[in-house]
C-alpha cells in the first residue's frame, strides 16, 4: 500500500505543478546546460573503464552477501542449540577467507585503484 501511496504522491505533485506552472517555449531555453557556453560535442562519449571494473568486483561480493545472510540468521540459534563452534563458524570463515583472497588478488591487480587515462598520466608527468 505504501508503494501505491509512494507513487501517488509524486504523480499528484506533477499534476498540481502542471496546473500551476507557466509554459513559455523558447528554443534557446532548452539548450543543454554547459556553464552558459554553447554545448560542444555529444554526451554519448567513451567513459572511464574504471566504472566497469568496480562493477565486476561488486557482482561477486553482492552475491556473496546474499549467501552470508541465512548463515547470520541461523548462527546464534545454532550455537545455543549446541552446535560446536567449529561447525557453525568454520565453513563461513573459510568462505570469507576465499573471498578475502579474491579481494587481495583484485587489489594487487589494481582493480580497486583508480586507473588514469594515458592522457592524464602524460599530463601528470609534465606537471611533476
Amino acid at each position: 500500500m505504501l508503494g501505491v501511496v509512494a507513487l501517488l504522491i509524486p504523480l499528484g505533485m506533477i499534476v498540481v505543478s502542471s496546473l500551476l506552472r507557466p509554459s513559455v517555449p523558447e528554443p534557446n531555453k532548452r539548450a543543454t546546460y554547459e556553464s552558459g557556453e554553447v554545448p560542444t560535442g555529444t554526451t554519448k562519449i567513451r567513459f572511464n573503464i574504471q566504472y566497469y571494473m568496480v562493477a565486476l568486483l561488486f557482482v561477486v561480493f553482492d552475491v556473496e552477501t546474499v549467501l552470508i545472510f541465512p548463515w547470520a540468521v541461523m548462527y546464534r540459534g545454532a550455537l545455543e542449540e549446541g552446535v560446536p563452534l567449529s561447525q557453525a563458524l568454520g565453513p563461513m570463515l573459510l568462505f570469507i577467507g576465499i573471498l578475502v583472497i579474491g579481494l587481495v588478488w583484485a587489489w594487487r591487480q589494481g582493480a580497486v585503484s583508480w586507473v588514469e587515462s594515458p592522457r592524464a598520466e602524460r599530463k601528470g608527468r609534465e606537471v611533476r
Partner: protein
C-alpha cells in the same frame, strides 16, 4: 545435525490492523482492510513528507547558517518557518524546461523513482506508538533492496539528461553505490548475528534488554553500545549511501554543477530533492532501528523518540556537511573498497567469534 531454529513469532499489532479496529472497518471485510492499509500508508508517507518539508527548505538552511555564523531565512513567518510553504509554491509553479535530446521516458521516470523508492523503505520501519506498516520476516533485506533501487533512478537521471555533468554525476553515483553497498550490508549482517532475525520488530525487541546498570541508570542493549565499532562503520557507510558530505561526489556542486540533477527544473527538481532528503531520513531510520533501539526511550512516547533519533542523524549529516571537505571520486573508491570493506569484514568475523565464545 541440522539445527532447527524458528524465530519468535511476532504478535505486535500493525498500524493497518489498528486502524481497522479504530474505525470499525472490520465489517467491510477485505475492502475495509484495503482502506485501512491505504490510510496507514498515507499517514506514514505524509509524516515523512512533513519531516522532509521541514528539513529541506528550512532546517538545512538554518543549520548551515548557524555553522557559518549567519541568520538565514527569518522573514516569512515565525523563525522563517513559512518559507516551507513559500518554497513549495515557488518550486511547483516554475516552468518545467525540457532540455534538448533528453531520453523522454527515462528522464520523466527517474524523479518519480527516486522519490517513491525512498518513501517505500519506511514501510517496514517500526516507528513506535504502534506506527508500523508491515513487518515481514525479511524486513531488513527489504529496506536495503528498496534503498538501493534509488541508484537506478540516479543512473537514469544522469544518463537520460544528455548533459555531461549529469552523465558524470550518474556514473559517480553508481561507482559510489557499488563501493558502499557491500560494507553497509556486511555491517548490518553483524547486527543480524546478534539479533538472529531479519524482522525489524524482532531486532528492536532484542535491543530492549538491559546491557548493564551504571549508578542506577539502566543502559539498554542497543547495538550501538554493544558493538560501537559496527555503529561507526555503519554510519560512515550510510553517509555514502545517502550521498552526503564528505561523500557527496555524485552531486559535487563545485565540480560538476549538480551532478545527475543538473537538467531538472520545477516539479522534477522537487521530486529529486525530496527523494534525497527522504533518503537521509530513511538512512536515519535504519540506523535508529539497527543500532539505537528503534523507538525505545524513557518517558516520551515511541514515535517522539523515533523522530528525535532520525533528526539526530539528520543533524549529524548537516554537521559533517559544514565541517568536512569532499572526497575525490578516486579517493572515495579507495576508501570504500580498501578501507570500509576490509574493516566491515573484520567486524563481521570478530562479531561472529565474540558471539560464538559468549553463546
Amino acid at each position: 545435525m541440522t539445527p532447527t531454529f524458528t524465530p519468535l513469532q511476532n504478535d505486535a499489532v500493525l498500524l493497518p490492523e489498528r486502524l481497522v479496529d479504530l474505525l470499525g472497518l472490520g465489517e467491510f471485510g477485505v475492502a475495509g482492510e484495503v482502506v485501512a492499509a491505504f490510510l496507514g500508508a498515507f499517514l506514514v508517507a505524509n509524516l515523512m513528507m512533513a519531516m522532509t518539508g521541514v528539513a529541506g527548505p528550512w532546517a538545512k538552511r538554518k543549520i548551515t547558517a548557524a555553522f557559518t555564523d549567519r541568520i538565514a531565512v527569518n522573514r516569512v513567518g515565525p523563525f522563517g518557518l513559512l518559507i516551507i510553504v513559500a518554497d513549495a509554491v515557488r518550486l511547483l509553479s516554475k516552468e518545467l524546461i525540457i532540455p534538448d535530446g533528453v531520453d523522454r521516458p527515462a528522464w520523466d521516470l527517474a524523479p518519480i523513482l527516486i522519490a517513491s523508492t525512498a518513501l517505500l523503505g519506511f514501510a517496514v520501519i517500526p516507528m513506535g506508538s504502534g506506527i508500523h506498516l508491515a513487518d515481514p520476516e525479511v524486513g531488513l533485506v527489504f529496506v536495503f533492496a528498496v534503498a538501493s533501487m534509488t541508484s537506478v533512478g540516479l543512473v537514469m537521471a544522469g544518463y537520460a539528461s544528455n548533459n555531461k555533468y549529469s552523465f558524470l554525476g550518474g556514473m559517480r553515483a553508481v561507482a559510489q553505490n557499488l563501493a558502499y553497498e557491500i560494507p553497509l550490508i556486511v555491517v548490518a549482517v553483524s547486527v543480524v548475528i546478534f539479533a538472529g532475525t531479519l524482522q525489524m520488530s524482532e531486532i528492536v525487541a532484542a535491543q530492549a534488554e538491559p546491557l548493564l546498570v551504571i549508578a542506577g541508570v539502566t543502559i539498554p542493549a542497543w547495538y550501538a553500545f554493544v558493538n560501537p565499532f559496527a555503529f561507526v562503520l555503519f554510519v560512515a557507510a550510510n553517509m555514502m549511501e545517502i550521498g552526503r558530505n564528505p561523500f557527496d561526489t555524485p552531486e559535487a556542486p563545485t565540480e560538476i554543477v549538480a551532478g545527475y540533477q543538473t537538467e531538472y527544473s520545477s516539479v522534477y527538481f522537487v521530486l529529486v530533492f525530496l527523494g534525497e532528503f527522504l533518503h537521509i531520513f530513511l538512512g536515519g531510520a535504519i540506523i535508529a532501528t539497527l543500532f539505537l533501539g528503534g523507538p525505545a526511550g524513557p518517558v516520551l512516547p515511541g514515535i517522539v523518540w523515533f523522530l528525535i533519533k532520525i533528526w539526530a542523524v539528520f543533524l549529524f549529516t548537516q554537521w559533517l556537511r559544514s565541517a568536512l571537505p569532499r572526497f575525490r571520486i578516486d579517493q572515495l573508491i579507495e576508501v570504500g573498497w580498501k578501507g570500509l570493506l576490509v574493516l566491515s569484514f573484520a567486524n563481521l568475523i570478530l562479531t561472529a567469534i565474540i558471539v560464538g565464545v559468549i553463546a
